[in-house]
């Protein structure tokens, strides 16, 4: 074929051809080994995956890999749809032996060696549906409430741990509220300086437009009081004061 280079697959045949045409003095020492342990099939089409494909009737689509689906997937989407912030919790997905899930007993929601997670809720729910013959909704409620209880306990532990740490002399960095307030203050100061600069610019522009004497916008408090109490100044000669 044009696009493919089969020389790596055909090393043994090439060696034999070279030896037969006396290009090399002897067969290579791996000749028997590659003969005894032949390479696997390459570029072989996989077995028929979907005998009756749903959408495409094209033959090429019938041999493509199929999605892997589990019954827990629906339960997972339901749980994480109701509790989206559980997706933000950090997860450790490193497996120890590969058989980690073998020793789990889902008659309890907390398993040794496994984080309390949305996954444990789903597995507990499935166990209740299969072993206690509860409906999906009932099992979901039972598992969910156990999960909430354990999360509440975790919260209490966290709060008590912080109090104990503060008591024996620990100090913490700035909390999110403090950091937020600082950012807001900084933004406010920036805005204030920008706004005062804008005011100055506008006044300078206005001063350029009018050529008359400029009245001072700010006067001292005593002058202001004096201006207000200046009743004795008549508007015109002979007119009574206002």
């Amino acid at each position: 074929m044009g696009r493919y280079d089969f020389r790596p697959m055909r090393v043994r045949q090439t060696a034999k051809a070279l030896f037969d045409s006396k290009r090399i003095p002897g067969l290579p020492q791996w000749y028997d080994i590659v003969g005894d342990i032949p390479p696997g099939e390459t570029l072989a089409r996989p077995v028929l995956r979907a005998p009756t494909p749903k959408r495409a009737k094209k033959p090429s689509r019938m041999f493509q890999p199929l999605p892997i689906r589990y019954p827990e997937d629906k339960l997972r989407s339901e749980f994480f749809g109701d509790h989206p912030w559980e997706l933000a919790k950090p997860r450790l997905i490193v497996e120890d032996s590969g058989n980690d899930a073998k020793g789990y007993d889902w008659s309890k929601i907390v398993q040794p060696g496994k984080q309390l997670d949305g996954e444990s809720v789903v597995q507990r729910q499935l166990w209740l549906m299969n072993n206690r013959s509860l409906s999906q909704a009932a099992a979901y409620d039972v598992a969910r409430r156990e999960f909430y209880k354990h999360r509440h306990l975790e919260d209490i532990r966290r709060r008590v741990a912080k109090e104990e740490a503060l008591h024996v002399g620990a100090y913490f960095g700035k909390g999110p509220l403090e950091v937020g307030m600082e950012l807001e203050d900084r933004t406010w100061e920036n805005w204030k300086s920008w706004a005062s600069k804008q005011i100055e610019d506008e006044e300078a522009q206005r001063a350029q437009m009018f050529s008359g004497p400029q009245t001072e916008t700010e006067i001292s408090e005593t002058d202001f009081d004096a201006a207000i109490e200046e009743e004795s100044v008549p508007l015109a000669k002979g007119a009574p004061p206002l």
Partner: protein, 386 residues
Amino acid sequence: MIIRHVAARGSYRALVQNRLKQFRRFFSEVTSIEATADSSVNQLQALEGQLNSQTAFSVPTASPDTQAAPLSGSVAEQYHKFKHLEKHFGHLGSDISPHYQPHALLNNPPSPADVTLELLLAAEAHQGHLTSLWNPANARYIQGIRQGVHIISLEVTAAHLRRAAKVVQEVSRRGGLVLFVGTRDGQDRAVVKASQMAKGYHLFERWIPGSITNGQQILGKCRTKVVNEKDEEVPGFEEQLYDRPVLRPDLVVCLNPLENYVLLHECALNNIPTIGVIDTNADPTWVTYPIPANDDSIRCIQVIAGVLGRAGQAGQKQRLAAAQQGHITYRAARDLRLPEEVEEAISPEVMNKLEEGMLDDGNGLDEKLDQVRNRERSGRTLKQMD
């Protein structure tokens, strides 16, 4: 305030350390170790007096000798003390087993018989790439699609890995040169360990293009040696080795074929069988023995390299055991003569890496060889100058 609370709880050591830290803040000069030890001992004694006056129970006194002992003991004493403590207290605490220990895969890799689907799953060998980035030639190796990525079938991986391990074992048993190549970050330790076990060669930096096709230029200055069947070097062949062509590997194991296309192409041009870790976006026709697995996971690479290294180790053991019995499992090198050039010295006991028949001198080949050697020798002195 704080002192009374903590002392009432009974944590004497924390209290002492707290107070010592406060005192140490006022040290402006740099003092020697003994001076600080003496001053801290004095502070300790002052503190003891204070506590004894305040609290109901009497605080045990600390003598300066016990305080100064850990500082002035010799290294050997400290080591023995550490070992003693480890023996008595090392087993305390919780035991998490079976626990993933990253160093165990490098220091004690699994053998081909230990390859299980669970091991490959834990090593994340099943993780392929995005479905849109696949190479359809790998369709046979793929189990299905999950979360938008292809999942490699672990049974297929295990079968191909065992096959490749058998090839490495047989090539090692027949005394072939195996080259382990892994040029990505984090693959160097696995590659080196595998080559050490299989008594092969390793490469974890960039492959210099032309090392096989233009080998005489690039690798011509590398030292070669003649070894006997027990892997002992046999001296006296330097003249003959100087004229010989550069060595080529008999088998190349590549842990990241996507970055090493040039190496694999050179092997194909020179008819060298190759083994490679083929991901879902890699081309399986580039290598002779593909191992469909995840080449982006360092844990998976360590498992695969470890298994192949162990197979090579087994092959080497078989070869040396056969050599001890007197049975050589490989063909000797061609065109090598004994350094003494004495025909009657070849006895059945002297089993060097030689052919049985000597070169025939009848057609004046010997003179020609001498001429070539003289010319080469003058060239050699020039070469040694740079």
